[in-house]
């Protein structure tokens, strides 16, 4: 039983990281109908920046999170300017897919040059000794991930719903031409969505790194899983990505434990394909009627 609870907790912690990344996808998708295929690399850059600030410069974990957020925000601006805006002008899907992929490649190569190709361990801020809750042993970092991830999503969601800026985002998502006519600066709104999304990705890197390792390849698979999460939950739904993240995080832990670690990465993708066949808008997505 204790074993099972531990397994669930690890699944939830992993799921929250997926959910954070996917939450980022949903933010940029709503404004620009694109997703950033370099998101995983941004997570990696966030983690490595955090590592430098925390372990090298000894400025502490909080500063590491702040630095990662800053770098992420900057990356968001660059990505939107270099990869998204020109591609949106051409209106071709392949263009933005490849442009964001290209930036991801550049980012990974740059990370290899700056930090080297080896993985390094990231000191856990709350220590790596498991806490004992009765018979259950819990890693403090897992608790931290769950807490911070939930906090970030709540803050962004409240901001989106309550503030005038958030309303602008919603308006651009609904109809960017009408939003532009209503005086909303659409390009700035899109840039802002990439800034927020990339900053979240970078912070998730600092969150997850103490559990995994920090290195140039750490983001690729996490980013890819997060696409699956975003689509399973519904790209347009905040609750959806959380449910999707938890679902896939748990599925993976259970597959790894009870089937085979080799197949650990598949349930997410199989779930993805099933959802696409049954309900392409995702579990929480709404279908829209297309006018002719």
């Amino acid at each position: 039983m204790a074993d099972l609870i531990q397994l669930i907790l690890s699944g939830v912690a992993l799921g929250m990281i997926y959910a954070l990344l996917a939450f980022g996808y949903s933010i940029t998708f709503s404004t620009s109908r694109t997703i950033n295929f370099a998101q995983g690399e941004f997570l990696m850059l966030g983690a490595l920046t955090g590592l430098t600030v925390d372990a090298r410069l000894h400025l502490g974990y909080v500063m590491a999170v702040a630095a990662a957020a800053g770098v992420g925000a900057l990356l968001g601006v660059v990505l939107e300017r270099v990869a998204i805006r020109p591609a949106l002008r051409t209106g071709s899907t392949v263009a933005w897919v490849l442009a964001t992929v290209a930036l991801g490649i550049v980012a990974r190569n740059a990370a290899e040059r700056i930090w080297g190709t080896d993985d390094s361990s990231f000191p856990a801020p709350l220590g790596s000794e498991p806490m004992h809750l009765g018979p259950v042993r819990v890693l403090p970092q897992e608790v931290l991930i769950i807490g911070v991830a939930a906090l970030i999503m709540i803050v962004v969601e409240v901001f989106r719903r309550r503030s005038i800026w958030g309303k602008a985002v919603t308006a651009v998502a609904a109809d960017n031409e009408a939003a532009a006519l209503a005086g909303i600066n659409v390009p700035v709104t899109i840039t802002a969505s990439f800034v927020i999304s990339s900053a979240i990705a970078a912070v998730s890197g600092v969150l997850v790194a103490p559990l995994t390792l920090a290195g140039p390849t750490m983001g690729t698979l996490l980013g890819t899983k997060a696409y699956a999460v975003a689509i399973v939950g519904g790209l347009q739904s905040g609750i959806g990505v959380i449910v999707g993240g938890l679902l896939i995080g748990l599925c993976e832990q259970f597959t790894a434990r009870y089937i085979s670690t080799g197949y650990k990465d598949t349930p997410g993708f199989i779930l993805l394909i099933l959802i696409l066949l049954i309900k392409p808008a995702g579990i929480f997505g709404k279908r829209s009627i297309k006018k002719v």
């Binding site: 020109p86 263009a95 992929v101 290899e112 696409l276 002719v292």
Partner: protein, 629 residues
């Protein structure tokens, strides 16, 4: 210009002998043979990305399917290569079907992610199904391609892969210029209009993926013999991305582009070997540069450069080369005979409209009910857009459907053409129920339509737009197209002749080579009618054919409708120009808030109290502001 027709085949044959120039194993085997193998995959990928406009980041999975099938069959069952390769192609195609299914319902980010997932699933399977694929060890002991005196090992491998590449490129090219290519392009530009023109989305979307996958499978089958080794790391998402990069570098929808792009992605890593540490950065940078500054790829640049050079030279010699660029609209040529006055009255081109004999119907039976609805209803959530509508469209008669904006007229057309599924009631056409029929089937059965918001294929020429409507006249399947048989060529010639006649009929005879989007608005509406007529309709649904037209153009539409009626075609006319409606209609149905409020002869309807109140508003409907159409 007949020159390329000789030059290209000569060049293709000449390239066959390249290995005789050098015995260098690296140049011939590691570069040229590899380029040939990858080009086959890229040409196939072009079908999906360039021609169909979908995105696939999963082609490495298809490539793996072909490679592993071939390798396993040769290694475990000792099958000869041709059989194993055929199996590889078949399995590849099967996987392509799996990959294509999501493409039917998804686009943009969704499809991109679905294809990534597909690739990862294949790679995981290859890694884990150890008993079949040898897992992470990979397959090493692949028998050599030596059959008696025929030897395809080492540099001789080129003599196998080069002809196959040429054939693959030829096949893709033939497909692209045939009605298949037009179907891909039409679905890419406007799927709804394509389906309403009789093109099956299922058939051509899946077809593009399956064909594309067959090429990827062939590429995989050949790839096995480049290194005589295959292992899971090769078939990663990175490879799928590399394929896309090659395609974009070179330029989509171009044979030269496919070859150049592939060549570059294979050779560039070696060129940049000195700066191997920064290789990926350079690659990413180059890709961004291409996307940014040369979206047409290198082939596009070369094409533009050749055109520029040819034009420059021609200018010097004082020659005028045949113009291949679309002429700007409003050219003096446009104002020739037929402008604004379709040839309808004169009967020019009228024979291009085939009249269909419908089973169980007397073709000459004017007034016989063709398309009837009974209690047709559709509700979007709580809003009942069309409520228990009974309509009857008869052969050789014009039935007008009028009503204020938002009264459900266009929704009715969308119901009749299969875009919406009714939530109640029935639609009968020629003895069949159409409520659940797909748009392309409805078009095939003989119900064509035009769109209120013009839905042409803007990037295609005017003639090609009509050819899309003639899609149903191509009876030969895939094989004749690939083989370029006489029958396939005759069908194409025949269709072009008819398309030209149809254009003449609507008064656009001189504009066949223009790009559709460059036509003025009124002519675009006429082109839509020509495309609908190309479908040999028994019933045609005209959704506001005169909207936005000048009075001269309206008169032309009026004449056109008269001619169609005389040909025995049943017409449903939605229109706000009451002069036109009252002049041409045999019967008028008036809708308001989805309900029929009047029906009868034009003059009866005009006097009807409820119609007048619906249009002009009285206390009954006060405050019920009509929404947009």
């Amino acid at each position: 210009m007949a020159r390329p027709r000789i030059v290209l085949p000569l060049l293709a044959v000449a390239c066959c002998f390249v290995p005789l120039l050098t015995g260098n194993e690296y140049y011939v085997h590691s570069v040229l043979s590899k380029v040939c193998v990858y080009t086959i995959v890229i040409a196939g990928l072009d079908l999906v990305v360039g021609y169909s406009g979908d995105v696939s980041v999963g082609h490495a999975g298809l490539f793996a399917a072909g490679a592993y099938t071939t390798a396993i069959l040769m290694w475990k069952l000792h099958l000869p290569f041709p059989l194993a390769a055929l199996a590889g192609i078949a399995i590849g195609a099967l996987f392509g079907l799996l990959l294509g299914v999501p493409a039917l319902r998804l686009s943009g980010p969704y499809l991109a992610v679905a294809t990534i997932a597909f690739g990862l699933i294949v790679q995981t399977f290859v890694n884990e199904a150890v008993s079949l694929t040898n897992g992470s060890q990979g397959i090493r002991d692949i028998p050599p391609l030596r059959y008696g005196p025929i030897d395809f090992e080492g540099n001789h491998f080129y003599y196998l892969v080069y002809p196959l590449m040429v054939l693959s490129l030829l096949a893709v090219h033939r497909l692209a210029v045939s009605y298949w290519g037009r179907a891909f392009a039409a679905l890419k530009e406007n799927a709804v209009a394509a389906e309403c023109s009789g093109i099956s989305r299922y058939r051509y979307k899946l077809g593009a993926f399956i064909l594309s996958a067959a090429f990827a499978g062939l590429g995989g089958a050949l790839f096995v013999h480049i290194d005589k080794y295959i292992g899971p790391p090769t078939f990663s998402e990175q490879l799928s991305i590399l394929f896309l990069i090659a395609l974009i570098f070179g330029g989509v929808r171009s044979i030269a582009g496919n070859i150049i792009g592939t060549f570059l992605v294979i050779v560039l890593p070696d060129v940049f070997n000195a700066v191997a540490d920064y290789q990926l950065m350079i690659f990413g940078g180059l890709l961004l540069f291409t996307l940014y500054f040369v979206p047409q790829g290198i082939a596009g640049v070369l094409q533009a450069a050749t055109r520029w050079m040819l034009r420059g030279r021609a200018g010097l010699r004082g020659l005028s080369l045949p113009h291949r660029e679309p002429m700007p609209a409003g050219d003096a040529r446009l104002a020739g005979p037929g402008d604004g006055a379709p040839a309808a009255a004169g009967g020019n081109g009228v024979d291009a409209i085939a009249t269909r004999t419908l089973a169980g119907l007397d073709p000459a039976g004017r007034g016989a009910g063709l398309l009837t609805t009974h209690d047709l209803t559709i509700a979007f959530g709580g809003l009942v857009a069309v409520n228990k509508l009974n309509l009857e469209i008869r052969a050789g008669q014009v039935h007008a459907l009028i009503g204020p904006n938002g009264s459900g007229k266009s929704t009715t057309v969308n119901l009749l053409s299969g875009i919406y599924r009714p939530t109640g009631g029935s639609i009968r056409f020629a003895g069949r129920d159409l409520e659940r029929a797909s748009p392309h089937l409805i078009s095939r059965l003989g119900v064509a339509r035009t769109f209120q918001n013009v839905a042409l294929f803007g990037e295609m020429t005017v003639l090609e737009n009509v050819l899309v409507g003639l899609h149903h006249t191509f009876k030969g399947g895939l094989l004749p197209v690939l083989l370029g048989t006489r029958r396939a060529r005759r069908e194409e010639r025949e269709a072009r002749r008819r398309a030209q006649a149809l254009l003449a009929f609507v008064g656009l005879g001189a504009l066949g080579a223009e790009r559709a989007r460059s036509l003025p608005y009124g002519k675009q509406r006429l082109l839509e009618i020509a495309r609908a007529l190309a479908q040999d309709p028994a019933v045609i649904l005209l959704d506001e054919p005169a909207a936005g037209l000048t009075s001269g153009e309206i008169a032309a539409v009026d004449a056109l409708i008269d001619t169609l009626r005389a040909r025995g075609i049943g017409i449903l006319l939605i229109e706000h120009h009451m002069d036109l409606v009252m002049a041409v209609s045999d019967e008028v149905t008036v809708l308001d808030f989805g309900q029929r409020i009047a029906r009868g002869k034009p003059e009866e309807v005009q006097r009807d109290e409820r119609v007048i109140s619906a249009y002009l508003g009285t206390t009954v409907h006060q405050g019920a502001a009509a929404a947009d159409a």
